[in-house]
């Protein structure tokens, strides 16, 4: 089961006997391959629309709870549109959907959204967070930008395109880890290697200790990002809780020690250095290439001066049915990719299913999305997770299939308002007896601002933008992302630090965020544009112009007409004595609606 070398590595740092831990691993849920599940028997047979719902309902009924009623159509179209493409629905689309009597109205809407190229823009950001995508380095010595990634956007655009094309997830991973090693006539996909090739390059990177730090970044991003395992913990000592040894860590680190960061010249036109790299980073794509294959010594307690035994490059012991065989081809990157996407790997599909589920539903199935190990959370509904994971692989690793499966479920279509009994019994909504009320992230929030002000540019892909530029109408996914100085607006609104893999976004609520909403030039500009739209509304003779403007605002921002009380409050605000004039008071009114909780939350 376990090689001699591993045992030596284990003994060297004095950890408990390894077979014991591996034995425990055999019964740990995450290390057993997911299997197709039998559907639970449910009492309310009319509710489930598919397999997802059977598992959700089974769990609810076990707790003596029942699902919430379905969401009303306006809430549903706003929800599914923001969730799938990250933009609010167009008022015309809302009215059409509300009036659509076809039994497949919702299915048709979902099909349209999944086919939208904006879906790739939405989903890409999830991936870029975990890939710690950035375009520069945390350390800048003087004005030296030679380690920057001016063409990083080409990787970002590749991710968007791949998601829009529904590239199977296994190929999506293969290309990002080893595109250069796959047989192919064109090299268009090599830019995918930016997954590793855009990683941080630390100060003084020739230094052995700094090299070791860079390997750790690569191992961490790959293992937490793709496998949901915190392998980097084993750099200094055997993992304290999971069956991952220092030997496992250095077996993987060896793959990256055998891989070089590479600025490959763009076709023909750029000057090359002796080593084949582009002289100027702006004339290149930032990828990786094979280096000299090397097996690493275990570094005892992570100390570069204390070399333990050499470990051959290979995959993690715990994730294979058999003892992992050593990687034979070059660095071993291709073999690593294959081991990750192997259908017998118990983690890869589950980890991705959990990420997509969380992005759409709000509550995760596993609360620690990048740690499925023993210190991570246990799944709230393992049968559901496993059933989805198996069927996801059977679908040909289609992320679109997965998204469709989730948003078509009755569980997803529930109202976010539930009976008090359900809320009391399950305050964290682990059982999904209602839909979660979700917050807009910074991308969806700014993009909504652009959309409702009528200033959204819909071009897909291209060079990065200054996201706070009030006149820039491009989507937030195209922001410049800096490791050195993350844009202050992005930082303020919980965009993760791109120096490391981000497992999930933390949600904070601070007055500084609200100062941005109140006073920033960006909000001021889009408020002005939105107010212009409202004031410019055309009215029929005899129609109340104030009502028409308020109605337009509510349809654009909230996908619904205003209530009588809201109309009255609006009218009072814009017509009160002493207001500073029509143009300005409508700006102030528009800003209030933009700053509201209703805009910021998805029911």
């Amino acid at each position: 089961m376990i090689s001699t070398i591993v045992i030596v590595g284990w003994m060297a740092v004095g950890a408990p006997d390894p077979p014991e831990r591996l034995e425990a691993a055999e019964t740990f849920w995450a290390f057993e391959a997911p299997r197709p599940q039998l559907l639970p028997a449910v009492a309310d047979r009319g509710w489930p629309r598919g397999r997802v719902d059977a598992f959700v309902l089974g769990a609810l009924e076990d707790a003596d709870l029942r699902p919430a009623p379905g969401a009303e159509r306006r809430a549903l179209i706003r929800r599914v549109t923001l969730d799938l493409i990250g933009l609010p629905p167009d008022p015309d689309d809302v009215e059409e959907f509300v009036a659509d009597r076809s039994p497949t109205a919702y299915e048709d809407l979902v099909a349209r959204l999944l086919a939208s190229p904006h879906r790739g823009e939405r989903r890409a950001r999830m991936w870029l967070d975990l890939a710690r995508y950035a375009e520069d380095q945390a350390h800048i010595v003087g004005d030296n930008k030679s380690l920057f990634y001016p063409n990083a956007f080409r990787y970002r655009d590749w991710v968007i395109d791949a998601l829009n094309a529904d590239l199977p997830y296994d190929d999506f991973i293969r290309l990002q880890l080893a595109a250069d090693l796959l047989e192919s006539d064109d090299r268009e996909d090599d830019v995918a290697l930016g997954f590793i090739g855009l990683g941080p390059k630390y100060y003084d990177r020739g230094n052995p200790m700094v090299k070791a730090d860079e390997w750790e970044d690569r191992v961490d991003t790959v293992t937490r990002g793709l496998l949901g395992l915190t392998v980097a913990c084993a750099r200094c000592h055997d993992h304290k809780y999971d069956p991952i040894s220092t030997a496992d860590y250095y077996a993987l680190a060896g793959v990256f020690a055998s891989t070089e960061m590479f600025n490959r010249p763009l076709d023909g036109k750029s000057e090359e250095k002796k080593d084949g790299q582009a002289k100027n980073p702006q004339d290149s794509i930032h990828i990786v290439r094979e280096g000299k294959p090397v097996d690493l010594n275990v570094l005892v307690r992570g100390d570069v001066n204390q070399k333990g035994p050499v470990v051959e490059r290979r995959f993690l012991t715990v994730l294979g049915r058999d003892e992992p065989s050593k990687f034979e081809e070059g660095s071993g990157r291709r073999e690593l990719a294959e081991a990750i996407v192997d259908c017998d790997n118990p983690l890869t599909a589950r980890v991705l299913v959990n990420r997509i589920w969380t992005a759409l539903v709000g509550t995760p199935l596993v609360g620690t999305p990048s740690n499925f190990g023993s210190l991570g959370d246990r799944p709230t509904n393992q049968a559901l997770l496993d059933d989805l994971a198996v069927r996801f692989m059977d679908s040909g690793w289609s992320i679109k299939w997965l998204e469709r499966e989730i948003v078509l479920s009755a569980a997803y279509r529930q109202s976010s308002r539930a009976e008090e009994r359900t809320v009391t019994a399950d305050p964290d909504n682990r059982l999904l007896g209602r839909m979660n009320r979700k917050r807009l992230d910074i991308e969806a929030w700014r993009d909504t601002l652009l959309a409702v002000s009528g200033h959204l540019e819909t071009t897909i892909g291209g060079r990065s933008i200054d996201v706070r530029d009030p006149d820039c109408g491009r989507r937030t996914v195209y922001s410049e992302v800096s490791r050195f100085r993350l844009d202050p607006m992005l930082a303020l609104f919980d965009f993760p630090d791109p120096n490391v893999h981000a497992a999930k976004r933390v949600e904070t609520t601070t007055p500084l965020q609200k100062l941005f909403v109140l006073n920033s030039p960006l909000v001021a500009r889009h408020t002005e544009l939105l107010a212009g739209r409202l004031v410019g509304v055309e009215t029929a003779p005899g129609e109340d112009v104030v009502v028409a403007r308020i109605e337009l605002a509510y349809s654009l921002l909230y996908s619904r007409p205003p209530s009588a009380a809201e109309l009255e409050l609006g009218r009072e605000f814009v017509t009160a004595a002493g207001t500073p004039g029509d143009a300005i008071v409508w700006r102030q009114y528009a800003q209030v609606l933009l700053a509201s909780n209703e805009l910021f939350f998805i029911d």
């Binding site: 913990c233 305050p427 490391v500 904070t508 609520t509 909403v517």
Partner: protein
């Protein structure tokens, strides 16, 4: 404000302030909602419990950072033996330095009743000698700025860990809900930059709020503090309407604390426009006080630090950076001239801060820290012909000082060897300094943890020991 907070904490031992924030799932400043929100959400695992772990000696920290690293043998650690060995080559890993040992040209004298020794480069600081606790036995892991800065700020050489100020904010929260708990003052950017005040994996509310002090006009200091055209009355009308609309929205969605948190944050932002405008504006200070600190950016930043401290900002970092240099103390050439100029400015501002804090009764509860990322070599670094000799980076022995906040004043702690090369007695590693700073704030550095990536992280990793000998 501060006193009120403490009372509240003592009155309700069952629900700590931090748990409250955790339940609200929201940022600083939710205390006002305590009653409304209690029990409405499960407590977050992210929030530290049981604080303070020990009786706090200090409530806040002002860290005066001398970017580029000051020379210990020219400031607080006199080495007469350097004269005897002048020009001789150091041994070991330092050998083959063309310059050889270089004595300090500056005269050292014991100061105050306690006799804390400092060089003639300081003319104002001697008046505060009895408040200073000079540590002569500091050491760190590497002699390079980037990793050295990161180590001093976050206990790790790579930009992947939260900063000291973020840990403190996370542990203790804010004393003033109308201001950020962690403020960073710097003209432009120091070397490394914002990673030095990063929250890293801690929640975003604990990141340092960076204020560019190149222009001290208050509307330039804080982004988005005022609206470009709407008056305060206009905004009040807006917020009143917003409150009504949010209230209608909330009525149909009872029991969702996240909605309340947003409403509260908006009201706080409105108040903060006034509070921050006042806190960050040094112009109302009497001319006499402004002069005492000196007209330099560092001087006025120290004054600003005092204003923030007295308003309850928890952690204030002041960087000694100039418009010309991101690390002015990096005196590879003309070490003596550089130190003469830099110390004069730093001396005046630092002494003014200590005196001013003391006069206001704030020094006892405010820990002031002075130092850089490491020290400078006791031997010379020779540049081109006709340039005056400098000193290189040096990490195995250097000096820092602490004052106020529960440290023993008038103390000189630890020693380097005869030539100032290595800390040899009562050595203090950066991790030990961090452990001690947390201790003075009432935090056990081993118990302030955050669960991330499958394990509990702490500022001091697996290191750090509280330097009991410097605590009053």
């Amino acid at each position: 404000m501060a006193r009120k907070r403490n009372e509240r904490r003592q009155q309700s031992p069952l629900i700590t302030r931090r748990q409250m924030l955790g339940r609200a799932g929201a940022g600083f400043g939710l205390l006002g909602l305590a009653g409304a929100l209690a029990g409405s959400r499960a407590a977050s695992a992210a929030v530290p419990d049981g604080l303070p772990h020990i009786a706090p000696r200090a409530k806040r920290v002002i860290f005066l950072f001398m970017n580029g690293a000051p020379s210990h043998v020219d400031t607080f650690d006199p080495k007469p033996a350097l004269a005897k060995h002048e020009g001789e080559q150091p041994t070991g890993r330092h050998k083959n330095r063309k310059g050889g040992y270089m004595p300090s040209p500056f005269e050292f004298r014991p100061r105050g009743a306690s006799g804390v020794v400092m060089s003639e480069l300081f003319s104002e600081l001697p008046a505060c000698a009895d408040d200073l606790c000079v540590i002569r036995s500091m050491h760190t892991d590497v002699p390079n700025h980037e990793p050295g800065l990161l180590m001093m700020h976050s206990g790790n050489q790579q930009p992947i860990r939260p900063s000291l100020g973020s840990w403190v904010s996370y542990g203790l929260g804010t004393e003033n809900e109308n201001l950020p708990s962690y403020v960073v003052l710097c003209p432009g950017r120091p070397v490394v930059g914002p990673q030095l005040w990063s929250n890293s994996f801690l929640p975003g509310e604990f990141q340092g709020t960076a204020v560019d002090t190149s222009d001290l006009r208050v509307d330039r200091l804080i982004a988005n503090l005022t609206h470009p055209s709407f008056s305060r009355q206009d905004q009040r009308r807006q917020l009143d309407l917003l409150a009504r609309l949010n209230d209608l929205h909330r009525r149909g969605r009872p029991g969702d604390a996240a909605l309340d948190a947003q409403i509260r944050a908006m009201e706080l932002a409105f108040k903060m426009q006034i509070e921050a405008s006042d806190a960050f504006d040094v112009t109302p200070e009497p001319r006499r006080i402004r002069d005492m600190y000196g007209e330099s950016v560092f001087g006025q930043s120290c004054l600003l630090a005092r204003r923030l401290a007295e308003r309850g900002v928890r952690f204030i970092q002041v960087y000694y950076v100039t418009s010309k240099s991101k690390q002015p103390w990096d005196t590879h050439q003309d070490n003596n001239g550089g130190h003469r100029r830099l110390c004069a400015d730093s001396d005046r501002a630092t002494a003014a801060l200590l005196v001013d804090l003391k006069r206001r009764g704030l020094l006892d509860e405010t820990l002031v820290v002075w130092g850089g990322e490491f020290g400078r070599t006791p031997y010379a670094q020779l540049g081109k012909k006709n340039t005056r000799p400098g000193r290189d980076h040096h990490h195995t022995g250097f000096s820092m000082f602490l004052a106020g906040g529960g440290v023993r004043g008038g103390l000189t702690y630890g020693e380097t060897d005869e030539l100032g090369m290595h800390a040899v007695k009562d050595t203090v590693h950066v991790h030990d300094l961090h452990a001690t700073i947390l201790h003075l704030l009432g935090i056990d550095h081993e118990r302030l943890t955050y669960r991330y990536s499958g394990r509990d992280f702490r500022l001091t990793d697996v290191h750090g020991r509280v330097v009991e000998g410097i605590i009053a």
